[in-house]
């Protein structure tokens, strides 16, 4: 049970983050090694606790710590600046998400929320250049206002019901619920509140983008649904907005040349799929919306890590300039082909099941929305195939010899994990008692 482990979980999170941060006092080389070890150990501990806890919180914890571990591992190769800070932030970020999904207390949730927001903000601004500053400002403006709205919502709930329990939200006024839902939905990049996302996910270090796209916005979506799901009107509005976001995200991704920006837009679409499933009111769609979090998260993280490797080797994110850059590298090519095909919903990777049953569930709830979902999925083929062909076909423009084996193997393990889970999706859902 989540309640049983929550305090220990938070303790590990704070102590781990503090320890990883303080390793910055060491000389640069040692700081990198020590912070990597501390973060990995803390994440592994959090992973174990998540597996023990089960339930939705445990599940979110599982996905976020796995992606967090991947980010820390890949950072060995592709993050060169302040590795200790990066690792501490990744740890703080992945640790805070399970609390959002599991905690029963709005104050705790808000603290975790702020921890997450601050980590995201610093990670977005990590490179300390003009582009990063602009993206961070956009994030700060929009999500800051979102957090403020959510805080007002919490205050209203507390004033009206005299309680800060999540259960009290149901008894609160509609205004309070709407404020909470909209505030949290900003971070979840619900259309039309997603405008901060493409910039932020594009400029953050690729390891952080893997976290942001892979699990952070999905966890925020789960939280938004936890408060919006209590209200049929808000739920309905969210459902329609999510359908619009699914179409718009994929359409925008079609036009991108920047690899990471393309992936970011595609994440807008995917978090919208999750929200559609959650808000549809169909039991089946909701269950498989949960599954889609892992299904999309692992593969999208693998693609972001790939983009990080390519950025480190070729120094560019432009797909036109990266033409053929994975062609000579069998490992990277396998990751690119498998993740792109997998994200189109093709077997044998996990999104096959989540997209299949999301469509089936949505058909049960509302056939037009199911059609919108499928059309959005079909639109996405265009850019996934462009990435797949673009990176694997042709000759690389320069053949610099950087191995970056750890990062590549990390991306590959995420793909293999997705393939392994493909065999037993129901077992995964049953393990966390979600089905």
């Amino acid at each position: 049970m989540w309640e049983a482990v929550e305090s220990t979980y938070l303790l590990v999170l704070f102590v781990g983050t503090a320890a990883a941060l303080s390793s910055r006092l060491l000389p640069r080389r040692a700081a990198s090694a020590v912070s990597t070890a501390i973060s990995a150990a803390a994440l592994a501990l959090l992973l174990t606790m998540s597996l023990q806890a089960g339930g939705l919180a445990g599940y979110i914890g599982f996905v976020s710590t796995v992606i967090g571990l991947a980010a820390v591992a890949a950072a060995i190769d592709i993050v060169h600046e302040d590795k200790a800070l990066h690792n501490a932030l990744v740890l703080a970020l992945s640790g805070s998400l399970a609390v959002l999904a599991g905690s029963g207390d709005l104050i705790r949730i808000f603290i975790a929320w702020e921890l997450m927001s601050v980590s995201v903000l610093i990670l977005v601004a990590f490179h300390r250049d003009r582009e990063a500053a602009e993206a961070a400002l956009k994030y700060l403006m929009l999500c800051g206002v979102g957090s403020a709205l959510a805080l007002v919502g919490i205050a209203l709930v507390a004033l009206e019901t005299g309680s800060t329990a999540v259960g009290a939200v149901q008894r609160a006024s509609m205004l309070a619920r709407a404020l909470l839902a909209v505030g949290f939905a900003t971070e979840a990049a619900l259309f039309p509140l997603h405008f901060w996302l493409p910039d932020a996910h594009m400029v953050a270090p690729s390891t952080a983008s893997a976290m942001l796209s892979g699990i952070v916005i999905e966890a925020a979506a789960v939280l938004a649904w936890r408060v919006a799901g209590t209200d049929p009107v808000t739920s309905r509005v969210f459902l329609l907005l999510a359908a619009a976001g699914a179409l718009l995200g994929n359409l925008s991704a079609l036009a991108q040349d920047d690899f990471k920006r393309l992936l970011a837009y595609s994440s807008v679409a995917n978090v919208s799929y999750v929200l559609m499933g959650l808000c549809s009111g169909s039991e089946l769609a909701r269950t498989y919306a949960y599954l889609h979090i892992a299904a999309h998260g692992f593969l999208k993280a693998a693609l972001f890590l790939t983009s990080g490797v390519l950025l480190a080797v070729h120094g560019t994110r432009s797909l036109a300039a990266l033409r053929g850059s994975a062609a000579r590298d069998n490992l990277l090519k396998l990751v690119v082909i498998a993740s792109c095909l997998g994200l189109t919903g093709a077997p044998p990777l996990l999104p096959f099941w989540s997209e299949l049953f999301l469509a089936v569930g949505l058909f049960g709830a509302s056939p037009p929305l199911a059609l919108a979902f499928i059309i959005a999925v079909v639109i996405s083929f265009g850019y996934y195939f462009r990435v797949l062909y673009g990176l694997s076909v042709g000759a690389p423009s320069d053949s610099s010899q950087k191995a970056l084996t750890t990062a590549k193997l990390t991306a590959l393990s995420l793909v293999l994990l997705s393939a392994a889970l493909f065999l037993q999706p129901r077992a995964l859902l049953a393990f966390f008692s979600l089905a």
Partner: protein, 553 residues
């Protein structure tokens, strides 16, 4: 040991091929041949020896599944052997054998799956393999485009499949195929809807009107792939799906199927007559014969559809393998640049091609004659009267004309250069398939007995015979003797139109491009860089939500 052993064996060996391929080409080829040969032997053994206890996957061990499994595995084996010769010298051989083994495994899984979700899984998996193999030579932009097109168009058809699954889950409450058929049998209106949706899925996979545009382009792939996936097996998945759910197809659905298939049959036959690309002619002819199978299903001749599927798989795989050897030797697929290959030395190929062509045209006593006759008879009965006779006459006229045109254009006349057919890996499967096609007629009786149906008796239909004779005569006059040159020249613009699938393809591409470009431009424009504007959106949403809430409360 159950039938599921066959797909599992192939799926495992596909991964092994990917790993082995990193080290040795020979080992990879050997593994592929051994795995597909083993799968074929195992399939035949299990079918003839009776399948044992069920294994890991839920499988159907009824005659239809076993029959399809045998077709898939045996043809798969022959074509893998052919690939060893055909793909010699290609760089991405590991990728090739991985996908081809994965494909055969997935196709084997598709035809034995007893659960509709499992069926859908393999249905998608064969689609992925097909797309990746079409774009195997992905340095060519056309190949990349063709792969994406095949993937997208078939997935559009799969909307029907998904909706059908949803309906089945919500109303039948089971996903096991026998259970589904039983549940749908009790509810005619539901069965009609599910049938229509499955029809859409089948039309996508089997390239029927209006989703037929992807198959001609799929010819950009290696010819071994065209032979296996786009002639002999995957495109039959739609036929299999409707045969499997035949008991629940209502009269209305069958009527819809009949007219769609009839339209497809005529469109594709004319296109086959008009196309200037060796493989495109064969692709159009495949669409034509798939339409014949659907016509048989629609007209109530279930057995005729299965038997024609068998004979078509044999002769079309044979024709494609010959086409692959020709393209390999001559270096082009353009019919204007190919001529006189008989004199150029392609004797075995010429004979084999002729055998395939005769079977395709329905010349007795080749298997194509018996099975096509059965289909046409059912069509004539369904349409009653002169309309039926006219359709039979026209269909056999067109198919005889297009296939003999192709044969004459390729093999008659004077050679441009010497060719030779030296590659043993390619000659053996061609010879084997030619023998199978030649001697296939006696196979039909045991197969129809195996499928548990009365053998459809072979009657010589006068109209079909007339069509065959006039079609062959026309082909000989025009392309053998060079008569009617003026008419040919006059018809050229029309032929170009037919070759481009009556601009249907251009229309779809235009719509897709316009819609995606305009909408994606609009979507990108919506993205504002100004944080203040973004915040206004947020406040706008809050206000909107408040208004909605106030109005509701």
């Amino acid at each position: 040991m159950g039938l599921d052993l066959v797909p599992l064996l192939l799926l495992v060996s596909s991964v092994a091929a990917l790993v082995v391929g990193r080290y040795s080409r020979r080992a990879c080829e050997l593994l592929a041949v051994a795995a597909s040969g083993g799968a074929a032997a195992l399939a035949l053994y299990l079918i003839l020896g009776g399948a044992g206890s069920p294994g890991v996957l839920p499988v159907l061990a009824d005659p239809l599944s076993e029959f399809m499994l045998a077709v898939v595995c045996v043809l798969g084996f022959l074509i893998v052997v052919y690939s060893v010769g055909y793909m010699a010298g290609e760089e991405g051989f590991a990728r090739y054998y991985f996908f081809i083994l994965l494909f055969i495994g997935a196709m084997a899984g598709l035809v034995v799956a007893a659960d509709i979700l499992l069926l859908y899984l393999f249905w998608e998996l064969v689609g992925v393999c097909s797309a990746m193999l079409i774009s195997f030579w992905w340095d060519k932009p056309e190949a990349r485009r063709a792969g994406l097109k095949a993937f997208t168009v078939t997935r559009v058809g799969d909307v029907g499949f998904l909706a059908a699954i949803a309906l089945i889950i919500y109303s039948a409450g089971t996903t096991s195929i026998p259970g589904v058929i039983q549940a749908l049998g009790a509810d005619a209106s539901l069965a009609g809807l599910v049938g229509a949706l499955l029809l859409l899925a089948a039309a996508g996979k089997s390239a029927q009107f209006p989703l037929l545009v992807w198959l001609p382009d799929a010819m950009e792939g290696p010819t071994s792939v065209s032979a296996l996936i786009h002639a002999a097996t995957m495109v039959k998945a739609g036929v299999y799906l409707l045969s499997r759910f035949y008991p629940v197809l209502t009269v209305e659905v069958r009527e819809l199927l009949f007219w769609l298939a009839l339209a497809t049959a005529f469109m594709s036959a004319v296109s086959a007559l008009a196309s200037y690309d060796l493989k495109r002619v064969l692709a159009f002819s495949t669409i034509n014969h798939l339409a014949l199978m659907f016509l048989a299903l629609a007209a109530g001749a279930w057995a005729a559809a299965q038997l024609h599927l068998l004979s078509h798989s044999l002769f079309k795989a044979l024709l494609f393998l010959c086409a692959g050897l020709i393209a390999h030797e001559v270096g082009t697929r353009n019919l204007d640049e190919i001529s006189g290959l008989w004199k150029a030395g392609l004797r075995l190929t010429g004979v084999a091609f002729l055998v395939g062509a005769l079977s395709l045209a329905g010349v007795p006593p080749l298997p194509g004659f018996f099975t096509k006759e059965a289909v046409l008879e059912a069509v004539a009965e369904h349409l009653v009267g002169p309309a039926g006779e006219a359709v039979v006459l026209l269909l056999s006229f067109l198919s005889a004309a297009y296939i003999f045109r192709l044969f004459l254009r390729v093999f008659a006349g004077e050679p441009k250069k010497e060719c030779e057919e030296h590659n043993l890996w390619m000659r053996v499967p061609i010879a084997a398939l030619a023998v199978a096609t030649l001697a296939g007629a006696p196979l039909i009786l045991p197969v129809s007995k195996f499928l548990g149906v009365h053998h459809v008796e072979a009657r010589l239909d006068a109209w079909a015979l007339l069509g065959l004779v006039t079609g062959s005569a026309l082909a000989y006059a025009v392309w053998g003797r060079g008569l009617l040159a003026g008419l040919r020249a006059a018809l050229k613009p029309l032929a170009r139109l037919a070759d481009r699938v009556y601009l249907l393809d251009d229309l779809y591409t235009w719509i897709a491009r316009q819609v995606s470009q305009r909408l994606s431009y609009a979507a990108v424009r919506l993205q504002q860089g100004n944080p203040a504007v973004n915040t206004l959106w947020l406040l706008g949403l809050v206000i909107l939500l408040s208004i909605v809430i106030l109005a509701v409360v």
